[in-house]
């Protein structure tokens, strides 16, 4: 049986490039991503640099998976909105996006998703805060605690949105001059 290891790591959605870099460093060391779960990555022993790993935010789409497989890519798995692919390096360079437009579309998709999650958290946070402060229920402290959590997550997401916006803006400036 192939030797396997599992690692636990947390990456924020706006750090997907960092995540991809890490996965490819693992592949370079002879550990190829084989399974993904919530913050869990399972690797299997392979030749160093045998595969290139790519990930992308893409809704569930069977057609896309079979399209990718036709191009020689292997579907590893998905975690929430993220899909993971790998392709044997001997087949050549493996990228998911080859022009600025499709890179921008992808970044905007991530931005929009985080924005929605952020707004939902803000809304839940306000509601919990209100209940925590105003209600006479014995559980109101629970609401107050969750409210703090909600608002904390919101702050992180705001930071992420800022980082993504920077990337989008710089690609858009470049797009004014080239494709």
């Amino acid at each position: 049986m192939t030797e396997r290891i599992t690692k636990t790591r947390w990456f924020w959605a706006w750090e997907y490039e960092k995540e991809e870099r890490w996965l490819n460093e693992m592949a370079a060391d002879g550990w190829t991503l084989a399974e993904v779960g919530y913050c869990r990555f399972t690797f299997e022993r392979s030749e160093p640099n045998a595969y290139t790993i790519r990930l992308e935010m893409h809704p569930h789409d069977e057609q896309y998976l079979s399209f990718m497989e036709d191009t020689g890519a292997e579907y590893i798995g998905r975690c929430l909105q993220w899909v993971y692919f790998r392709r044997r390096s001997e087949l050549g360079a493996f990228d998911l996006f080859s022009d600025l437009d499709s890179k921008l579309t992808h970044l905007r998709k991530i931005h929009k998703t985080i924005l929605i999650v952020g707004i939902l958290n803000l809304f839940a946070g306000m509601l919990n805060l209100f209940v925590g402060l105003e209600s006479t229920s014995v559980y109101r402290m629970n609401n107050a605690c969750v409210a703090v959590l909600n608002l904390l997550v919101c702050t992180f997401l705001m930071y992420g949105l800022g980082r993504l916006k920077e990337k989008i803006d710089s690609l858009e400036r470049e797009r004014l001059l080239r494709e």
């Binding site: 992308e56 191009t71 890519a73 360079a93 998911l96 437009d101 499709s102 494709e179």
Partner: protein, 107 residues
């Protein structure tokens, strides 16, 4: 509306390659060959472009043949018209470039 569209390089080459029916990977190979290896379409980019062009009816998805799950695409009349307009725009670009820089580039 469609008359003055400037195509991206990817769109232009995808449309050209669909002069004959082809599936996704076939398009990638044909585009690479047409451009002597210069233009390499990534799968995600191609998938997005194909869906957008089907929506605009510049290309159609052909019925899937028995025993195959690969989808073939082909250019439509509308797609051909877009391609013709783009070709004459590109010719204008080349003409103007040669007229102004012609002497210098042939030194």
């Amino acid at each position: 509306m469609d008359e003055h569209i400037v195509l991206t390089e990817a769109t232009y080459y995808i449309l050209l390659s669909l002069y004959r029916p082809r599936h996704g990977y076939g398009i990638m190979q044909q585009v690479e060959e047409l451009s002597s290896g210069r233009v390499r379409l990534a799968a995600g980019t191609l998938y997005g472009a194909l869906n957008a062009m089907v929506e605009k009816r510049w290309i159609v998805q052909l019925p899937v043949e028995d025993g195959s799950r690969k989808k073939n695409y082909q250019i439509t009349e509308r797609g051909l018209a877009i391609l013709r307009t783009e070709l004459s725009r590109l010719q204008e670009l080349v003409r103007n470039g040669e007229e102004i820089m012609g002497g210098q580039t042939h030194d």
